[in-house]
């Protein structure tokens, strides 16, 4: 009986050790985007990792800086994106490019929003709206990418400016290395 009790106690003491082995780690990743109105947005994904695998994800609501001149506390990439979109030349070109319906007749209005991921890949969503006397009657999306190293000319003003800023030789090299892995 004593032997059985000892074994039982051992199992009870050891079991929790097994049950809680392998600690969770929390990894945050940032998702940067610039809306069709030219506003910066940041969303944070928190990944709960265990044994190198994502076990759970938690998404934050998108946040926008109250004042783009006061970016203290924001990460470097957010600051860099805000620097791009608030640049005088980019702002002026964006103001010219940005279309607004006049409210008269049938109009096609095109705008863009974009996200940029950790590899520098810029996802561009073109939004085509049809207005009839100022009332939106249709909205269509087309998605495309500006990959590091790809010529961004022909893209919208902000996407182009983001590509010029973030597609540095280092980012392009990293992306090409990824492609090379795929091509192997």
């Amino acid at each position: 009986m004593f032997k059985k009790t000892l074994i039982f106690l051992c199992i009870i003491l050891i079991f929790p050790t097994f049950a809680y082995s392998g600690d969770f780690t929390k990894v945050s990743s940032f998702h940067y985007s610039v809306t069709e109105n030219g506003n910066f947005q940041l969303r944070i994904t928190t990944k709960y990792m265990k044994d190198g695998k994502i076990k759970e994800k938690k998404y934050s609501r998108p946040v926008t800086p109250d004042d783009t001149k006061k970016m203290d506390g924001w990460d470097d990439k957010s600051k860099a994106i805000v620097e791009v979109i608030t640049d005088d030349k980019v702002s002026a070109d964006f103001a010219i490019e940005k279309q607004e319906p006049t409210g008269v007749g049938i109009e096609e209005i095109i705008s863009y929003d974009r996200t940029i991921d950790e590899l520098g890949r810029i996802s561009v969503r073109r939004i085509v709206r049809i207005y009839d006397d100022g009332k939106e009657v249709s909205k269509k999306y087309h998605r495309s990418w500006i990959m590091p190293g790809q010529d961004p000319s022909g893209e919208d003003v902000i996407s182009r400016a983001l590509a010029q800023k973030f597609h540095t030789p280092e980012v392009i090299a990293e992306y090409r290395a990824l492609l090379a892995e795929l091509n192997d």
Partner: protein, 282 residues
Amino acid sequence: MKLRNKLALIITILLIPTLVYGGATFSRSKTWSAGETLTAAQLNTEFNNILNNLTPAGIDDESSSNATAQATSDPYPSSVLSKATSLQTEIQQIRYLLAQITGNTYWYQDPATSLTAASQSVFTTAITLTSGQIAFPATAVPSADANTLDDYEEGTWTPVVAFGGASVDVTYGGGNGGRYTKVGRMVHLNGYLVLTANGSSSGTAFITGLPFTCVNDSGGYAPPSFRPSVVSYADMFIGRVEINTTTIRLEEVTNAGTVTQLTNADFAATSNIMINVSYEMQ
């Protein structure tokens, strides 16, 4: 006071109790008979009676029968305001809107759910969409909850072929294009790659430009179904959506089970491929 004025006052006083009595729940203080002298005290008492009882409890109901209790009136027929001309119509218009809000036949029937429950997005019964539509925001608000649908989007994309990671001098026909539908984290797409020139790039073949990045997990590889034309391959044309990319790797598998990647050498100027695949986005 002139006799004529006195007479008018008496007639008015005599008439008032009769009129009020029909719409009130209280009784007159006194009933005068013809020719009876009206004293100041009696007059004051009657007026006080009316003024003191002219409260919501003193005014008669608008539900003397089932028909009157159920009567409603549309305050906004054909999207034009129809102003009430009596308290009765005001009540009927409010009843009309209550019935509209609850969706019940009669305004007084219990609603299926309370506004509090609705505002908390908790429904105890199946959600019925009389308009038949659910609109999601243009920018998804992702949820990690396994039972929550967080996005829906339809759109188009443009397939691009790459050989060794480049597409130098590749040109596409007018039919080149694709369509996608994103439901939650799943992307369902069709595409038609139509070449008019296969260019000068060389190396392994990929279709790029998928609308969303594939999830970065080994369980996320997704093999598409293809309909290749003017593309050479051994035995079977296969491929997979590469994880953490926006590309489809193009491959062939022999009957013996050997998988190799297709290259530019397998393509011609007029190659075209139809694609259908579902994959999980990042």
